[in-house]
Amino acid sequence: MRRTPLWLGALAAALVVSATAAVMIGPVSIRPDVVWRIALDHAMPGWQTPSWQPFEASIVWDVRLPRVLLAAIAGAGLAVVGATLQALLRNPLADPYLLGTSAGAALGAVAVLLFGAPLLGGLSVPAAAFAGALASIAIVYVLAWQDGRFPTGRLVLSGVAVSYLCSSVTNLLIFRARNGEQARTALFWMLGGLGGAEWRTLGLPASIVVAGTAALIAFARSLNALSLGEEAAATLGVDASRFRRLGFVLASLSTGVLVAMTGGIGFVGLMVPHFVRLAIGADHRRLLPATALAGGIFLIWADVLARTVAAPEELPIGIVTAFAGAPFFLWLMRARSRGGWAA
């Protein structure tokens, strides 16, 4: 337990190093000191004497940095959502992608992309994604609930069913789209990825993920109690059903806004919390911050791989995370059928 600050410090340092490295790596390599001086120059104009080429400033500030930051935000958000769902549903296979939450968010987002909802302006896609995420989580909840718990089989099957249903409706919408240009936009968006990262669109996901994670950390004791069971939580003074609703709304908010920004990125929410749990244990007061940092690091590197492996082509990042995630998922299923949590 006393090692916790050490772990958090190490992870925070690794996140900074990873972000720096990710900005350095690309068709044009950029030295680390240049990366930082360009970033500082924008943070505090006039402090640094420019010794870099204008194109370097443009690559760092306009292209790579927002993308790396989006990767960190999305990775942190998805991993925290995964850890939260695993506690709320008391099931280690819970993950926004596996449970259909991401597919629900995608359906909401595509519906708005195709048919428009000018009411909310720039917020309409994230808002629709949030609504889709919340609706799909509610459906899975109702389908999988049995005798006071969520048996793994029912949960995964319900998630897969909802996921397929949402995806097929999404595809139908795109297929039937009148406007070919809009359909292309929706299809391109569906592929996902962090390529669309821009400074002006980072604010919303950043604030939702930070606020959502902070709120969940504040309620970490309740998450702990609930992961021992609904009735156990009640005897510790936690109103389980009300708290669970709050948790689902927070999880849907993060998932919705992240899917709206990046499309569906799978397995981050599944894998990262398990590895962190192995390292520092299950207490959510340390698990959640550590999971956020580790998720950010993981997705930063997944994105580096996605854009360098087949350069100059760029792989959808979902392929990279699935490559790591699918075998992990199978391993976890096997480990669990032998009766362990993840170890």
């Binding site: 008391r90 021992l228 069971g229 009735e231 009640a234 003074g237």
Partner: protein, 276 residues
């Protein structure tokens, strides 16, 4: 803390699970709740620890109805050991016991030295001071049960409620757990299956049958062959334990130990519910 249960009634799906059950648990005593499967033991206890809201009647602690208190307020005075033990967690023993402090903590409050003292003392009392850093999942059934008792103790309870704390334990661990509860000196009420264990450790027994208290009193007053025959539907003789002198129930004997008629009478409310 004095527990008083008055006229608890609760029905679900047309089946009356509790039918005017009433009992009192005086401060400092260890009360055993016995009765056949489906007689409503767990439901009665769930009404006490405020997870089940009865249709009528009230459970009160020191004169205050449990539903007049908040969940947190009650959790600061009442510790519960549930029948189901959590499995499949990555928590350490210490993590689990520390959760007992949750009802005493504000939203962002950190664990204090006082919390850790409570945890240490609780682990000490259940004899697991050395296992704090072990993973909860790696413990034996008896150890897990003691950890859960330690968690309830860490709440600083004035009343302990235990729902069949000895199920799934071997006989040695059954004795150990009951010995422990008895030795705590905290007012306690436990649903128990084994009449002999109940007789050996409890000050008072309440016999629940079809949702109502059928008999109560000191074990030697309550455990009579007639009562056991009528409630459980088995022939019984009651003697004395040669070592402890406590009442000891011997069941069976004769051509058939089971009195066939008792089940025809419908000893289980779950079965006597409305026909579908």
């Amino acid at each position: 803390m004095r527990l008083e249960v008055r006229d608890l009634s609760w029905a679900v799906g047309g089946a009356r699970i509790l039918a005017g059950a009433a009992l009192t648990c005086e401060t400092g005593t260890f009360v055993g709740l016995v009765g056949p499967n489906g007689s409503g033991k767990s439901s009665l206890l769930r009404c006490v620890y405020r997870v089940l809201r009865p249709d009528s009647g009230v459970a009160s602690v020191d004169g205050r109805g449990v539903w007049d208190l908040s969940a947190r307020g009650l959790a600061r005075q009442l510790g519960v050991v549930l029948q189901d033990r959590p499995g499949d967690t990555a928590f350490t023993v210490r993590d689990v016991v520390l959760m007992g402090r949750a009802p005493h903590k504000a939203l962002l409050e950190r664990d204090t030295a006082d919390d850790h003292r409570h945890v240490d003392a609780s682990l000490q009392r259940v004899g697991l001071a050395a296992l704090g850093d072990r993973a909860f999942d790696t413990l034996s059934g008896g150890e897990k049960q003691r950890v859960l008792i330690a968690r309830a103790l860490a709440q600083g309870p004035r009343l302990l409620v235990l729902d069949e704390p000895t199920t799934h334990l071997d006989i040695g661990h059954q004795l150990q757990v009951l010995e422990l509860i008895r030795g705590l000196g905290v007012t306690a009420i436990a649903a128990l299956h084994d009449l002999n264990l109940a007789a050996a450790y409890c000050d008072q027994l309440f016999v629940l049958e079809r949702g109502a208290i059928r008999a109560h009193g000191a074990p030697q007053e309550v455990l009579t062959p007639a009562l056991i025959e009528s409630v459980y539907g088995v022939k019984a003789a009651v003697g004395r334990h040669p070592l402890t002198g406590k009442p000891h129930v011997f069941v069976g004997g004769g051509e058939s130990g089971v009195l066939g008629s008792a089940f025809a009478l419908g000893a289980q409310p779950g079965i006597t519910g409305k026909p579908v």
